[in-house]
Amino acid sequence: MLLRTLHLPKSEFEAGTGWTLKPEGACQGDVCVPLSQDAGESIDVESVAREIGLPLVAAPEHGLWALGPAWIGSRALTSAQAPDLRLPDLDGREFQLASLRGKKVLLFAWAPY
């Protein structure tokens, strides 16, 4: 997840990382990591990332930070449930993978290089 600030509304942090912040801690699926204090509505990204174990890298001279993905369970997938994928098409319209529920989907990665 890319960040232009280290303080985010809770909803943005949750949407960007896939972690839900609950009173019992940060949760993803069945896994919850306790937090030393309630994260509140405005998230201090550095402290929450450290507690969850999300790597944070910085290009402070450009006002830019990036959080790495979760690595719980030692595999890229923590569950077979397809993650919430949203990407734009050529016209910039966002497409949600979940809109294809009811169909079998082959997600195909290619590159023009």
Binding site: A66, G68, P69, A80, L90, R101, L106, L107, P112, Y113
Partner: protein, 245 residues
């Protein structure tokens, strides 16, 4: 060829979603997408979120997802459908091709593919759904997805930062983060090829395919490896893991 396969299987409740992994976004992907005239969703992934979310490490690769949104096969090599008598002719290189491209294409030709096995399995799944032996149970899907530890997660963070710096016009600032991503996720070909493709050599349509030191200034090449050196070192036959049912 994928488009023809999609059109054939579409009436059976099948959809193809193609995702172009390219930090240059529309500038990189548009010509290819417009030439293919897709009738299926065709998306652009400038930060390679497919690597974060699904563990994609090379192209072409695929993930199969069933009607309920469950992954039934994690990221794996996805060879083009076997050619048929009615397939359009393959892409031909223009004349006077530099030796490097001939070498790259001859290495690429050695990349192991099991198009027949993969596509028979795909048709079996589209026909039989969960009863297909190629639709894996959830534990196996997770277990077959790529390994991920703290170094991998850190490498993905560096890669995301690099792609955004590149998009923002800070090409030089992006390079150390691409290098960190390459060091931390050495098995990812897409992380390397993306960075190499941003070091254009010459101009014209092939500039992004050079992916290695400029013969006029080899010392300026900012990366540890390059496409031809790396594929030769690891062996083109090891570019993808062998397909397994």
């Amino acid at each position: 060829m994928w488009q023809a396969l999609r059109n054939e299987l579409h009436p059976k409740g099948f959809e193809l979603v193609t995702v172009g992994l390219d930090t240059l976004g529309n500038d990189g992907c548009r010509a290819f997408i417009e030439a293919a005239k897709p009738e299926h969703p065709s998306l652009i992934d400038r930060h390679h979120v497919l690597a974060d979310l699904f563990g994609v490490i090379n192209i072409p690769s695929s993930v199969w997802i069933d009607e309920r949104g469950m992954i039934v096969r994690p990221a794996e090599a996805a060879p083009a459908p076997p050619r048929t008598a009615t397939s359009p002719p393959g892409f031909a290189m223009p004349g006077a091709v530099p030796q490097r491209f001939i070498d790259i294409m001859s290495e690429a030709a050695k990349i192991r593919k099991d198009a027949a096995g993969y596509h028979a399995a795909l048709r079996d799944w589209v026909e039989h759904g969960a009863a297909s032996r190629f639709a894996l149970p959830p534990e196996q899907v997770v277990e077959r997805s790529r390994p991920r530890d703290r170094d991998h997660a850190l490498g993905h963070a560096h890669f995301a930062l690099a792609t955004q710096l590149e998009i923002d016009g800070h090409h030089t600032a992006a390079i150390p983060h691409f290098r960190a991503a390459h060091r931390l996720v050495p098995e990812s070909w897409t992380f390397r090829r993306q960075a190499w493709s941003l070091e254009k050599v010459g101009d014209g349509p092939l500039a992004r395919f050079w992916q290695g030191p400029n013969p006029d200034a080899p010392e300026a090449w900012p990366y540890a490896g390059d496409w031809l050196a790396d594929i030769r070192q690891s062996g083109a036959e090891n570019y993808s893991e062998p397909w397994r049912p």
